[in-house]
Symmetry: C2
DNA sequence: TGGTCATTTGGAACCGATTCCAGGAGGGAG
DNA sequence: CTCCCTCCTGGAATCGGTTCCAAATGACCA
């Protein structure tokens, strides 16, 4: 049905070796022969079979991207960066989405087994020592993004510094009672970044002799529902914080929702700062700590390509910069004066029920 | 280095054919032989080479997902649904993100060429007649999502009906001057759904003898910036609409941003309704027309798996239901009192004589 | 005991490329 | 004119599976 290299060889009156050399741009092919082969290739609309090529060459030109929770916006932006770079280099990219710890273990094992891919990018997926040994034994090039292993190439942001940035911003606005909403402290799956960001916040506060009050600290589920629940609990307190730092933007949205529901105006009654600077943060005008999501994926892909070519230079650990992005959900704390209606008051739609205060 | 089927055969003292039969769960293998082979497989930690398997069997167990703009949330949710279904069925999924018309053409051509995949799902990517002929000639199973071709299996939502739903909701709240913000009318790439949704809106309005005023209609870029620009233009008008329907949630976010900037309170001064019901719409409490994004991806994947098994039943065109999801950005128009504040200060009270009527 | 048939088994052929080696053609030097 | 070296070229071997065919085995029956 579909033309093969043998068909091309026969019609061009040459051997398959010659066709292969033409296909791969190798030297040692006569000009007229090359022209004849190319003509037949065009005529037959011939494209080499990728599978056969992989089998004989031992390279699949395919990269696995293993990620947790494909639906998380920050993960998607990282994949997007990797996708562009890999596609431009002629590589295919296969997605391995893992949503449970078992799936993660299985995905990491499978990476090396069926020799299906030339390399892998792990996004927010941290290999354990056993995984590492498997990968190393198989000689599979792997680059981590937003994950860590002391012996593997990785691109990370300084989460402690980013957390401190958020803390210093709130402090500079005059906040003293600052709450924190984060991921579960020991997630079965995924990233310790939430804890690092909390640590950064605390370091910033400590410089002023302050700390996060235990009852102003909630570490629940990763998703918005978690941020919402956590924030509700904290914001219902009599001595609720005047500002909340959420370990990522998705959680921060949950905080905003809780504030809206409790009739707290943002930023007048409550400042909220997130982390990641996903697209949606810009949409709703949320202050956040920006980290280079797209770029981290692109950089990891570029590094992986270099590893595949055996050009393994550069440090194992690359720290990418974070920066504060101030929008409309942070402001000085509301001291004393009665709430005033503000046109910019809430990034979220103004609900008619937001007159009554908490309790 | 890595064990092959020949190693297993030798250690088990059987032929490669027998090992293959065991691997694939074929009958006609003696119980004791099977046990011995399985023992060796376990001992060697043997996994069959996926590439070799593909080459000899002619099936790659890989599906291509071709999508426009990998970064669009609705696209991602659809991919997520497809990913789960395909992974559970043991298929790998490769992503082909196309962001220009040329890339789209190339991606569609490549699908059939290198025999790299067993089938494809096209998300918001519409094949032209030539693409269709290529695909048909190659016998490649393909399912469309949010795209149309009269001869291909597809899952769509009734965009006209969805648009009408949005229109009727606004009408029932009492709105008479309704604006529309949509995608460019003739996108080089992508979907005509924006136009269909506008048509639905007009049909709903026509039932009341109304229409969208030409200067209340803006079709700009797909992304938020487009929605923002379009909305700014419309909302600065003296006779600005009391409600805006945006062809998708991303555009609607741009409308919200423009409203915020102009000092228009939502929903008091302006109602906004989107389309898609992406996660972020829930985050900010936006009223929207819900369509089953995840489910459409999952359904398409399930259908594709059936096509691969030769069980091609069911209609070519499957229409999935939409439904109105009312949140906090729509309300009756503000008739009595003047707006609290307005950037341009015109703040003309809504006068019912102002309705734009169908000629 | 011999014949028939179903089941089990080994291994060659094949999938479609790449790669390597040997042989042929052509050009330059002696 | 011969020899040698370089450059082209054809085709067999190879990658690691699946599949098919023929042969071996064993059960059953006359």
């Amino acid at each position: 049905m579909v033309a093969t290299i043998a068909d091309v060889a026969r019609l061009a009156g040459v051997g398959v070796g010659t066709v292969s050399r033409v296909l791969n741009g190798r030297p040692n092919v006569g000009a007229s022969t090359r022209a004849r082969v190319l003509a037949v290739i065009t005529e037959l609309d011939y494209v080499p079979n990728a599978t056969a090529r992989s089998l004989s060459s031992g390279r699949t030109r395919t990269i696995a991207v293993v990620c947790i929770h494909f639906i998380i916006p920050s993960v998607i932006e990282r994949i997007h960066g990797a996708e562009r770079t890999l596609t431009d280099a002629g590589f295919d990219l296969i997605i391995r989405n893992v949503e449970t710890a078992e799936r993660r273990d299985q995905a990491l094992r499978d990476l090396t087994h069926a020799e299906r891919v030339d390399g892998a990018i792990l996004i927010s997926v941290t290999p354990n020592e056993q995984d590492y040994q498997h990968i190393r034994a198989a000689g599979l090039p792997v680059v981590l993004v937003d994950a860590s292993h002391r012996s593997m190439a990785r691109f990370v942001c300084d989460d402690v510094e980013g957390g401190a940035t958020a803390g210093r911003h709130l402090l500079s606005l005059g906040h003293r009672r600052i709450g924190f909403v984060g991921d579960p402290p020991r997630p079965s799956l995924g990233v310790p970044s939430s804890r690092s960001r909390l640590r950064g916040l605390r370091e910033a506060l400590a410089e002023q002799g302050l700390d996060v009050a235990p009852h102003h600290l909630a570490e629940g589920e990763h998703f918005r529902a978690g941020g919402y629940e956590s924030a509700l609990r904290i914001l219902k307190l009599k001595d609720r914080p005047t500002a909340v730092f959420a370990a990522n933007d998705t959680l921060a949205f949950g905080v905003l929702q809780a504030a809206r529901e409790l009739g707290l105006r943002v930023p007048t009654d409550l400042s909220v700062i997130g982390y990641d600077d996903i697209d949606a943060a810009d949409l709703v005008g949320m202050t956040t700590v920006h980290q280079p999501l797209y770029d981290s994926g692109a950089a990891a892909a570029a590094r992986l390509l270099r590893l595949l070519n055996g050009q393994d230079h550069g440090p194992l650990r690359t720290v990418m910069p974070t920066r504060l992005t101030v929008r409309e959900t942070t402001a000085p704390p509301n001291t004393g004066t009665a709430p005033v209606k503000s046109i910019h008051g809430s990034s979220a739609p103004v609900s008619s029920s937001n007159h009554h205060r908490v309790r």
